[in-house]
Symmetry: D2
Subunit: 454 residues, 4 copies
């Protein structure tokens, strides 16, 4: 076997001087050293890795899987046979996927390298969350599913005893009004009924009073969902009180933290909720928080057993790619890179507010007074219905992606309440956005506004 | 815009002679022409594409997505921002994933190219199945989920009206005994109870008599599952009769065709079942049938509406990679490549049987008489319990992957019945296996057998 | 053939809305449009291309070469057959190389795409030089040879009539002292003798007086070499006077502008020389000026015929890679990117001077008064011989690459004169260097100096 | 530093069972082991490496070069700074190129990895030639130049003393008529005059009688060139006699073995020549013999000192890519792969002869009786001049690349003699060609012939 720590030994009798070889070894060591540290510490590196280092790690690990073994006789029905070398790229070489017999984190005998890769990724998932606001979680897992499907999986997992032992099941999940289709679908998918507690208007903000939640508890309630990140005018839930309420009433409590890791404020809400009462799982998207392609989520929990249950509920094996994507993000960002992105986000949020305020004054509108560390809503009270509609189209033509123009009279779903009085537009200064995105979006908004008003 | 059909026009005034430019254009056209045909016919190409052609298509399409647009102002919370260029590789550039608001096949405005890619893939999925045994399906969809999770999704989708309208739901799914954890988990996950109809022994084979299924019907039954491909001694279900039974009793009928596309015989069973009665969905793995990395499935149906329902049930957006992997396989194999693989499989199956028979005679055992076009079981009646256990280990050490040594006395789960009398070993001549796999697996088995017998 | 300008037409009957398809087309056009402009204008783009755009161009062109034609019957002895797909990467697909029968720029019938690529590259070579200081050149060529070998080729080419017609050849090349091995070797290689005119000391600087050059002319003189960029204490030659002298005496005049494109001042010297007298060729390195890997040069000339002669002198076909590398640099930098690099260089040069001055004062040395827009020399008068030697080693250990510590007493070759009185160290603020390189090199120098002085 | 031989140690405390980790290590070792053997034996591996293994080696070595060292302060004028990551691909990471101060094989302090790569490649060059016919060479070097430029370099190198010491130089090189432009240019380039000894016709073949060579010797003769591989009707030179003649008359003797390594018969001629007299250098193309992209050559010699001289003559540094390409070919073919290619070539040569004979009979022509283990010439006596011209065009349109239709009356250059009586067509069954190339070329020739005859 090649011991790269001794590569120079092979060349001692060569024409290349020893001090040059030493220099080469030193440079190579610098390249390889972060891999060693990763294996030792199993935590997100402080500094970003280069793409080449990440590829080197992935290639080394994927070359431990048995599909790379030319000397094997394969007589299973699944042996990670592939039709094209391009598949090695889309899977980063982990053709066997992850999981075994419907147990996601179970080591897969045909894929030792893939198993190590997944174990590492889960360590890093726990580590990044502990570093950025949740020191009180016990375990975490990266799942190759979006946030919504992760909620299905979590509810299914935490209900599994019920199903298995054929108990008289509770079927209701309390949902403080969250106007999001995927979320409601995810509850339906696993056979539960959402019991929606309607949002109420407080000034500009929409909140769901804890009293309303409490008064809606009945015997069929199995779980309660709460959220951090959401679109204005909906504010985050009172996680701490919900957490206490869940504990008192023996309810499963799942926090949807879709794109909340980017905000230390939202993370603090979760931390307090964990300390105050019962939190079963916290679900966050890998793409919205960690800049991966769409398709993964991190599920964390202060209860180690919960993560195990969840990992045993995925009914089969799964694509390794969303896991690899998370790993790539962690290594290419590092703790410092992620910290920097968070600071940039906070700066951009301020810029967005300042720029929108300037426009607001010109057009006689105002920033709505809603707590949200990522998004801002601006009133559009002076626009008639057809103009509101035209505004959306105008922004699309000006290539602004992501803003939401809302007319509550036309459609209340999305405001998380009934009869929200003010039309508005929402923009996000989300993690990974650039200052130029923010500035040019506001400029184009102003241009679009003027166009349609004329 | 560059019109590559006229690339030579740009060079007419150059020093390069016209006939050379024409030759260049001709070679380039040969490279690009399959792309044109794919767009026109939306069917699996007859002949394999090169990797370069596949990459060219993927790159062209992924460069239609808005995350590649430098001139956009992005103020959404999800904008396919990525931390590393390596993510472009694992996602083939489709960072936005697939789906919109929990509707998998809905076009995604931020990802026109990704939407085209997914639509194309679904056309090809329908086309390959129609070409290889199921001309009577109406639609198909590639899902970024394994077979088991696809069953969850299908059951959830076909039950969605019940959940939505809060009806008094039926909760039972009839399962002719299938000893497979993922499958049972997938039924549990979405809130159903499997009602298992026990397998019975007929000679060497294990079957579930249609009468037993019929006599177990009760009012709580919502669906019935049936299978084609499975491990011996379990034989495929009587799909035609189950299909009629489902129709008569208004049961949802889902066929698990995990690795069945490779066998024209299994496919014929399904085709007849569709013609004879009710089949709601047929689920097949992309990796086991189409040589992709693990992580996807194709769900097909003779009922177009069903596929739409299923695609609306995935609660969120999903990784594009399993879809891209399916597309890569289709293009790199082509109809002719797949046909060739099927013929090779059939040849290998014969070789496996011949070689195992030779060994059987030497060791005084016999090939079990079980119908299976992929796998073969050999009796191990002369081995005592501890030797059976040792055999598995010995094979592992000899680097034979995939064989299953079974001692029914020790563990009946897996035999699909109780009291199966004969210990046995199963080997597969599955699609994509090489002749040398088959031959060397049998040789090593013989070696291992002798080792442990001594 | 696929007309990518009409890709959406294929999808008009799809489920994807027209406005989404239009958006996709718009993004794709943005990706492809620079290619169209390049073909139309044949000049260095203003703005940088992305790596993906460059790859797309290279792949399109290389797919016009006949080795990509599956339908060809190849019965030549050279058909660009390759042993491994990795060769496609190292050659960017241009396996046929460049040239035909020892005529570099002659179109190669088997490689229409490669021929276009090379023609384009030569246009860009002429264009970049015209943009950055030499509007008065007529033609340029990228050669897959370093600066020294390019001089051999140039001398050989401009002497070819002599060899061909068997004339009584002149054999001497006048070289104002340039202490550089490769250069002297390059003159020897093609059968000439360098006649070296010794450098003289003027203050700190070393120059070769034009009178000395003039007085050394004899009947055997065929050519004269002059330089711009070189290491202090050698200053650039008086190009204008040499140019006049060459014209008056019918001498071939080749300017070695090794890494001179980065400096508008050096380029101005050449421009004036062209206007004032005779310049046959100007040779510049692609790696030192344009940030390619080592291995190419650009030869330019105000005389179109010269470039043709040179391109007909390379005795065979050549690797396409150094040409492709030049093309990659041009496209990935663009005019604006290169302008920015030049400004950064000038800034770094100032920083280097300021920082070195600070150290000089501390150690009682001084910046030598030598004209050079890239490099700076600092006196090391206070160090004894063995300390000077130790300083080099210390810098090596501190990982400073590129500084030259010179002790003229030990070795005069390199100073371009005899008896240069002062030991010195040279550092470069060359194009592509980062500010942190400059700052940390000076810091480490100070540290090394203190170490060895103690 | 990571010691990959102990990667499992890092995971001993993980959830992954020890036996699985061992299996992973075993598979990884199988991947890495060939690298170890290569370092130990420094010879061409017996069996082909995978692309992934080759990439792993190249990446490991290129990561030893100082341009990969983030901690270096770079203040040289050449520091392998690159404008784009694409350059890492075209150079396989070896951005520093090869060589130092005009000494190709001198270790480059800034590029320890590149220096190792080059040293390895040169070992493999010597080894492959020793394995395939030339056990009696002492050293070899891969140069980033084509065959012709390699001849220039070789002549220049072996003449360097003359130039350096200003001796009264001999200026003539004896060339047994070789009608090849590049070769003649290469002699001119370095200041020599070729003295061509005319070819004579012997039956169908063209040879240059040794007596004619001997009688042309004069005092100005410095060297003699001889060839193996060439186009019919020219046969290989009488290497043995030329070799003796060179020894007797103190002439430098360079053998042009352009694409001769593929033929054990040609190699045997060289081997005998080395044993019989004086051979200074043997030059072979890397692309025509070893299936690399165009741009490199291997120069071998039975005199170790000669290779050193040659490597000191390249006037500067050079692109590493042609060297890397040679290395890639060696590793991806292996001794066994190359042996197989040679056998395939021999088979194809027979097929070509058989097929051409069949056509010859039909059209009343004949295979010319000329010794050549690669190419075959067929007479075209029945075609008039304009038909001969038309035949070339017709073959081009039918996409046959590489055949040469010759009408000696129109143009004698190429026949290596004057007044060759018979028009003919030449086709090659060269190494790397496929049987289908041969068969379809002959078929298309027949078709083209019929077309133009009608």
């Amino acid at each position: 076997m090649v011991d790269f720590s001794k590569i120079i030994d092979f060349f001692e009798s060569s024409n290349i001087p020893k001090n040059m070889l030493n220099r080469g070894q030193l440079v190579l060591n610098q390249f390889l050293n972060p891999i060693k540290i990763l294996f030792e510490q199993r935590s997100v590196p402080n500094d970003p890795w280069t793409d080449e280092q990440i590829e080197f790690l992935l290639q080394t690990l994927s070359n431990m899987d048995t599909d790379k073994d030319n000397n094997t006789a394969r007589v299973g029905e699944r042996e990670a046979r592939i039709a094209s070398k391009l598949h090695l790229r889309t899977s980063a070489g982990f053709c066997h996927g992850v999981g075994r017999s419907g147990f996601l984190t179970a080591p897969q005998p045909k894929a030792p390298g893939g198993s190590i890769m997944y174990e590492l990724s889960n360590y890093l998932a726990r580590n990044i969350l502990r570093n950025f606001g949740l020191p009180n979680i016990k375990d975490a897992i990266v799942v190759p599913l979006c946030t919504g499907m992760s909620l299905s999986l979590t509810l299914g997992a935490l209900n599994s005893d019920g199903v298995k032992y054929n108990l008289n099941l509770k079927r209701t999940v309390i949902v403080p009004q969250i106007d999001h289709n995927s979320l409601l679908k995810s509850i339906n998918l696993v056979g539960f009924k959402p019991k929606i507690i309607n949002g109420k208007i407080f000034g500009d903000a929409v909140r769901i009073p804890i009293e309303d939640i409490k008064s809606n508890l009945d015997e069929d309630c199995f779980a309660i969902i709460s959220i951090t990140s959401f679109f204005p005018p909906r504010e985050p839930d009172n996680l701490k009180e919900i957490s206490k309420f869940a504990e008192e009433n023996d309810l499963v409590h799942v926090i949807i933290n879709a794109y909340g890791v980017q905000s230390p404020e939202w993370m603090k809400l979760i931390r307090s909720a964990i300390d105050a009462g019962r939190v079963d799982a916290i679900i966050q998207s890998t793409d919205k928080n960690f800049l991966t392609p769409v398709g993964g989520a991190v599920i964390a929990s202060p209860i180690e057993e919960n993560i195990k249950k969840i990992s045993q509920t995925y009914a089969g094996r799964a694509s390794a790619t969303p896991v690899v994507n998370f790993l790539i993000s962690m290594l290419s960002l590092g703790i410092n890179g992620y910290q920097k992105l968070i600071e940039e986000q906070q700066q951009n949020r301020k810029t967005l507010e300042r720029k929108l305020k300037e426009v607001a004054e010109k057009i006689n509108e105002r920033i709505l007074d809603i707590y949200n560390p990522v998004a801002i809503a601006l009133s559009l009270s002076n626009l008639k219905e057809e103009k509101l509609y035209a505004l959306g189209g105008a922004l699309y033509n000006l290539r602004v992606t992501g803003p939401r123009v809302y007319n509550p009279k036309e459609k209340s779903f999305g405001t998380c309440c009934s009869n929200y009085p003010t039309p508005y537009i929402v923009m996000n200064a989300a993690i990974g956005a650039k200052e130029k995105d923010i500035i040019s979006a506001v400029e184009r908004f102003e241009r679009a506004y003027k166009q349609i008003v004329q």
